[in-house]
């Protein structure tokens, strides 16, 4: 199978990758992670296994988000540079719902984001998270259940 043009792959997935990164590391750090993810994807294109390009892409994104997280943890609190102005525009239309997702335990949050933002299948989510597909399904299910409980509670 001939690898698709990178442009086609980029156009198809760039928005979902952006939304996943914003949900994972926040809008400010998402900018750097977006760069790093797609520059790495372009340099490595095409991956040897072209049957799971989406899974491969989100594994790259996850690595970059993790790197960013580690780098932030190491930076001194009194950072010399002024904070960058985020280029993310208008406020998200559903900040409350996103905040609830953000409060999920890490495994559930990651699984839910990869299922619903990135639209990955359970085996793909498992590959990205380093778990079995069954564990990925459980994490998604538990995350969704917890979200529903939260919303039910907030309405009562």
């Amino acid at each position: 199978m001939s690898p698709p043009p990178f442009q086609t792959f980029f156009a198809e997935h760039r928005d979902a990758v952006w939304r996943l990164l914003v949900a994972t590391v926040g809008p400010q750090d998402a900018e750097d992670c977006f760069q790093e993810t797609w520059l790495a994807a372009l340099r490595a294109w095409p991956p040897r296994d072209t049957t799971n390009l989406k899974g491969w892409l989100y594994a790259v994104a996850r690595n970059k988000a993790t790197d960013e997280h580690r780098a932030r943890a190491r930076r001194p609190l009194a950072h010399a540079d002024p904070p960058e102005t985020s280029t993310v525009g208008a406020a998200d239309p559903e900040p409350g719902l996103w905040a609830d997702v953000g409060r999920l335990p890490e495994k559930q949050r990651t699984a839910v984001l990869h299922r619903f933002v990135a639209d990955l299948a359970y085996d793909e989510i498992g590959a990205v998270m380093g778990t079995s597909p069954e564990a990925a399904r459980r994490n998604v299910h538990e995350g969704v259940t917890r979200l529903r409980q939260t919303w039910q509670t907030s309405r009562s």
Partner: protein
């Protein structure tokens, strides 16, 4: 019933973030487009120069297959090409001043045919038979048509200036209206003095 649809919708990547990526990206092939009066034209540029001028969106698959899958829309890398094409369509430019990447030109007969087409001056035309003769195969008129039809560098290598002996247009990868438009453009410009180099 909880609605999770908010997760799969929402704002896409902001333009500023996109632009920042495109400014650093180094694809093997950079693509841009020009909206010509007769339709959209795709141009593809490599480190060596202009490699492809095409009239249809399937050019991406072709570039991935024949040059490199690391192909990406980076309009900024195609600025010079697009500007010269705009000038050509406006009639203010008659000759292109571009580095060409001829990787997609097939060696042998196609090379000879395109070399012959490249000698046809602005505003002039030759017949398929004359090009066949110039390419060293006077009877291979149909093959000339095929070779011109597969010209990877349309407009810049002026296969549009090759027409039928009876005056009919013949064929054109960009469609006959495009060929007609280009020939008319050149005929109109020929009645005016050629623009001097600024």
């Amino acid at each position: 019933m909880a609605d999770l649809s908010f997760l799969s919708s929402g704002p896409g990547v902001p333009d500023a973030v996109l632009d920042r990526f495109l400014a650093s990206a180094e694809p093997d092939v950079a693509v841009g487009t020009v909206d010509a009066p007769f339709g959209r034209v795709w141009v593809a540029v490599t480190a060596r120069g202009l490699a492809r001028v095409a009239f249809a969106e399937d050019v991406y698959d072709e570039l991935a297959r024949r040059l490199s899958p690391r192909v990406l829309d980076v309009p900024g890398r195609t600025d010079a090409v697009r500007r010269q094409l705009d000038e050509f369509f406006a009639g203010s430019r008659q000759a292109f001043d571009l580095e060409l990447d001829e990787s997609l030109v097939r060696a042998g007969f196609q090379r000879k045919v395109l070399d012959a087409a490249a000698t046809i001056p602005y505003g002039a035309a030759r017949t398929y038979g004359e090009v066949a003769e110039a390419a060293g195969s006077p009877r291979a008129v149909r093959a000339v048509g095929s070779a011109l039809g597969a010209n990877p560098l349309c407009i810049v290598v002026p296969c549009h200036r090759v027409i039928r002996a009876g005056g009919g247009l013949g064929g054109y990868a960009g469609g006959l209206p495009a060929k007609r438009w280009l020939l008319d453009r050149e005929a109109d410009s020929r009645t005016l003095p050629a623009p001097t180099d600024a």
